[in-house]
């Protein structure tokens, strides 16, 4: 469903992606791990075409999204959801208005239908009763769930998660992952989850990939990654400070 072919990208003179090749099958959850600053979020943004590659291409259902014009891109994006690291909720709007925004502005639905869908999604993520609150009035975990509701409300086929549990306490982080797993069972979306908390996320993943120095260093089932003999993968998994990965 998603194919990344020979993707290269430089940012501020640094070669962040140096020929990434990756494919994600329909209905699959793929976890992407790797050191901070090694381009995991940059890769996600290329898949959403928020970034354009220096070389290489991204295909969604065999269609190269690079040359798409704005209306074609809009069509592709209507199948995509992106849960940003900080949630990216609009701070000037209530939780309800945030979730209703794409329905009102993009789909132009009637008020009753918007209301029904918004309340349903907020209930699904456990935020019933928080409709009138503003993003600054709710906790980080609630912000993530509200952002997830905003992504889910237009029922995307592909959801890109950029560190969905970062900054949350273990219980809330676990609850978010359970929610993603449950939603995936019900809706069968295709997903890429960028995370550092791979031990927990691996439990809900079908495959995992490690991005290192701009390329995919390892790809396989979560168990294969956990049992990998590759010294770089091993060091990352065990968190050793000594090894081939320099953290300085």
């Amino acid at each position: 469903m998603i194919q990344v072919e020979d993707l290269h990208k430089s940012l501020s003179g640094k070669n962040v992606l140096r020929g990434v090749n990756l494919s994600v099958n329909k209905g699959e959850i793929l976890v992407l791990i790797g050191m901070s600053g090694y381009g995991k979020s940059v890769l996600l943004k290329h898949i959403a075409r928020l970034f354009r590659p220096d070389r290489g291409r991204v295909l969604i259902d065999d269609k190269d999204i690079g040359p798409l014009n704005s209306s074609e891109l809009s069509e592709v994006r209507s199948r995509l959801g992106f849960l940003f690291q900080g949630g990216a909720l609009f701070e000037s709007m209530s939780v309800y208005d945030n979730v209703a925004f794409p329905l009102k502005e993009k789909l132009g639905l009637k008020k009753d239908e918007i209301n029904e869908r918004v309340l349903r999604e907020l209930d699904q993520v456990g935020l019933s009763g928080a409709e009138d609150k503003y993003p600054t009035e709710i906790s980080g975990g609630m912000q993530k769930r509200a952002a997830l509701a905003r992504v889910l409300v237009w029922q995307p086929e592909i959801i890109l998660f950029d560190e969905p549990t970062t900054g949350l306490d273990p219980i809330i982080g676990h609850a978010i992952l359970q929610l993603i797993e449950e939603l995936h069972k019900n809706r069968n979306f295709t997903s890429i989850i960028v995370t550092h908390e791979f031990q927990r996320v691996f439990k809900i993943a079908h495959r995992a990939a490690m991005l290192h120095e701009g390329t995919i260093k390892a790809l396989g089932s979560p168990d294969e990654i956990l049992d990998s003999d590759d010294p770089i993968v091993r060091q990352f998994i065990t968190g050793d400070t000594e090894g081939p990965i320099s953290y300085r």
């Binding site: 959403a48 928020l50 891109l73 994006r77 940003f84 900080g86 990216a88 993009k106 905003r150």
Partner: protein, 241 residues
């Protein structure tokens, strides 16, 4: 500069093709225009007052105190009204617009709009652009009126110039072209402020990330807008003189 020009062209294209986000436009008019009225009135009053004070002593030396009214009115309407209103709006609203859009950029809110298949220009840039064009001339008119009145208070009530002399001489020296000059200037300053403040906010990430990036973008926005207003003012004056 090329990117800034492209940004303006995109703004114009999206601005003159529907749909226009009217609610966002009204919010921006309220922010840029309505909420600047007090500041503009205050600065306008004191500008008129100091002009009157300075003008009186200068004109008194050459025995031409009767020209105090026209001098204050012409200075304010042709030059100080549009320029000072522009600089005040830059400081109050332009900086806030850059900071707000910049924060939306670094917190991925602009990306989120794009991911919904919507155009961020229509929601963030176009309303500010038109609000600037609508608000600046109106604020300038308020500045002009209050400035002339401030000059009247000092000249007539404090320094003893005749009320009829101060006000009566103004129509003899002020014509429609002078008023239009101020109007054209204020419209162009509205374009400069909204263009620069939106551009700097929209591309906040390019000047550094996080709070530092927003801070840099805001400073650059205020400095560039102010400099452009003063430089453009010269060319407008030379052109319309």
């Amino acid at each position: 500069m090329g990117n800034m020009a492209l940004f303006l062209i995109k703004t114009l294209i999206y601005g003159f093709t529907p749909p226009l986000k009217v609610i966002n436009l009204l919010k921006q008019i309220r922010f840029i225009g309505t909420q600047s009225i007090f500041l503009i009135a205050l600065i306008g009053a004191f500008t008129g007052m100091v002009l009157s004070l300075q003008g009186y002593y200068t004109l008194n030396k050459v025995g031409s105190v009767a020209f105090l009214g026209p001098m204050v009115a012409l200075s304010i309407i042709k030059e100080l009204g549009p320029v000072l209103a522009g600089l005040m709006v830059t400081a109050r609203a332009g900086s806030a617009i850059t900071a707000e859009i910049g924060i939306m950029r670094i917190s991925n809110q602009i990306d989120a709009i794009e991911m919904m298949g919507l155009n961020p220009f229509r929601y963030l840039v176009v309303p500010v652009f038109f609000a600037g064009i609508i608000s600046l001339p109106l604020l300038t008119q308020i500045f002009d009126l209050i400035g002339i009145f401030g000059g009247y208070l000092v000249g007539v009530k404090m320094l003893g110039v005749g009320s009829g002399t101060y006000l009566g001489e103004i129509p003899n020296y002020l014509d429609m072209n002078d008023v239009l000059e101020g109007l054209y200037k204020s419209i162009s300053f509205g374009v400069i402020i909204s263009w620069v403040s939106c551009y700097k906010g929209y591309y906040t990430g390019t000047s550094g990330y996080g709070a530092e990036g927003v801070s840099k973008a805001t400073t650059q926005s205020v400095v560039l807008s102010s400099a452009m207003i003063l430089i453009w003012d010269y060319f407008m004056t030379a052109l319309l003189f």
